[in-house]
């Protein structure tokens, strides 16, 4: 083949490939959000994005109650303010494709972007990953309903190559509250402390747990969790590097990062969020040995005490593990557990304020057996599988297992 033909062929191929790439990008960018089926507009922290993507895919594919979760990520305090003040969504948000649209898509891939109406859209749900009171002294307005959602653990994270395994609250107090890490080895280089900005739940929650105001933390402040992940992974000095992340973000990056065990004030030993550094059972988060966690809070507009969006109310009930009508055709709590959150129904401790003391907790609709079956791969021997209350005696069948009530 002559050089001229070869070069023309190469140019043609390049043009076709370029056109396809442009087309793919243009397709994702040009989809109006309003064209997506059964939309629910959500503004949430980026620690909750794994849940939005996992659940988003399943609801796109639901045969009984399909919906599109259209979400924007922003800091928890920003989300609270948006719902409190009825701020419209004006930035282009994300959504996930249905299996019919893209069979190959998985929640590990990037979500797609849609184009929002320039006039803005009312938010259906706002999510905070900290107690509301940490961001505002204003009581929940009468036009909102706030529901306690799954628990979000937070971690001090280091690169896998770091030899460190634990940090105490006292150490963290000095490392993040004082210049040069308060001379606490090995974390004496502030430029290797990767933290978040003041509106982010990750910082606010950990700040409350070590008794250092968020605004006083020393370190490099990042807007996104993904930026902290990248900074940790690419650090020039693993031993001196430390950052803060949501546990579910860390769980998705265990091939290169690890969580430090944490010893709270007054505690005798340091513990991981899970029973071991390699498990995903969140045992210590559930029973109080691991203290840096916050409940997520789901806010939705109401009128006359009733949510203005039935679809939003349904989605919130799904995330909270409540009984749904119609049934969605899948178990939503599976997504909650899969992304590393702990449903309220699986918690054994509770607290009433950010970083506050723990107390024993007995959920009104427990799901301990379901949670343990999900995280360990098999239900404990003491759990009885069920499809109705029949085999449960005085108890109740919840999420496929008999519970005490």
């Amino acid at each position: 083949m002559s050089k001229r033909v070869t070069s023309r062929a190469a140019a043609a191929v390049a043009a076709i490939l370029g056109f396809q790439a442009w087309g793919a990008t243009a397709q994702a960018q040009d989809v109006p959000c309003s064209s997506l089926p059964n939309p629910v507009y959500v503004q949430t922290g980026d620690t909750q994005e794994p849940l939005m993507k996992n659940l988003g895919r399943r609801f796109r594919d639901s045969a009984t109650n399909p919906m599109t979760i259209i979400y924007l990520t922003a800091g928890s305090c920003t989300n609270i303010e948006a719902l409190f003040n009825r701020t419209k969504l004006t930035q282009n948000p994300k959504y996930v494709p249905s299996t019919a649209e893209d069979p190959a898509w998985t929640p590990q891939m990037a979500a797609r972007t849609c184009t929002i109406d320039p006039a803005g859209v009312d938010l259906d749900i706002g999510v905070s990953a900290v107690f509301l009171e940490i961001c505002t002294e204003t009581a929940v307005p009468s036009h909102l309903r706030a529901s306690i959602g799954p628990v979000q653990p937070y971690v001090f994270a280091v690169p896998l190559l770091s030899s460190q395994t634990a940090i105490t609250a006292e150490e963290a107090y000095f490392v993040f509250g004082f210049p040069n890490g308060g001379m606490v080895e090995p974390w004496t280089d502030e430029s290797l402390h990767h933290i978040r900005t003041n509106t982010k739940s990750t910082l606010l929650a950990l700040a409350a747990n070590i008794d250092v105001e968020a605004s006083k933390w020393k370190g490099v402040r990042w807007d996104k969790s993904s930026e902290v992940v990248n900074a940790l992974k690419n650090s020039p000095n693993a031993e001196r590097t430390i950052g803060i992340l949501g546990a579910e973000i860390l769980d998705g990056n265990r091939d290169s990062l690890k969580a430090l065990a944490f010893r709270a004030y007054g505690q005798n030993y340091a513990y991981y969020p899970d029973s071991t550094p390699t498990s995903f059972d969140k045992q210590n988060t559930r029973d109080g040995h691991y203290t840096p966690w916050s409940p997520t809070v789901y806010m939705t507009p109401i009128e006359g005490g009733v949510p203005t969006s039935t679809r939003a109310a349904y989605l919130i009930d799904a995330i909270l593990g409540k009984e749904l009508t119609p049934a969605p055709g899948f178990e939503p709590l599976e997504s909650v557990v899969k992304v590393g959150l702990v449903p309220d129904c699986a918690m054994k401790v509770a607290r009433d304020r950010e970083g506050g003391d723990l107390r024993k907790y007995d959920p009104t609709e427990p799901c301990h057996c379901f949670f343990e079956a999900q995280t360990s791969g098999a239900a404990p021997a003491s759990c009885t599988a069920c499809t109705d209350d029949g085999p449960c005696g005085a108890g109740k069948c919840r999420h496929g297992f008999c519970e005490a009530r």
């Binding site: 001379m183 606490v184 006083k216 010893r263 030993y269 991981y272 401790v349």
Partner: protein
């Protein structure tokens, strides 16, 4: 008879020495018991609660989870063990 008396004396001495050793062992065991006494204020193994109800009991409850022991070095800690205010 002298032989019997000597034997008796030797036996007596032997019994006395065994008894003394036994006293020493009792002291060592006693010491060991104090050291092994969980929750002893002299720094023995901390006690864990098997039926926790308070915050401190919950975070220090007995568990099969992996735990990490750490004695941090805090150069800026006040001499009395309190933390200085964050600047």
């Amino acid at each position: 008879m002298n032989r019997n008396l000597v034997t008796l004396l030797l036996l007596t001495l032997a019994l006395l020495s065994i008894s003394a050793c036994g006293d020493d062992n009792d002291a060592a065991e006693s010491d060991a018991g104090v050291r092994a006494d969980a929750g002893a204020p002299d720094g023995g193994t901390p006690v864990c609660s098997t039926n926790p109800t308070t915050h401190l009991e919950l975070i220090n409850a007995c568990t099969n989870a992996v735990r990490v022991e750490k004695t941090p070095v805090l150069p800026l800690l006040n001499a009395d063990g309190t933390r200085p205010p964050v600047p």
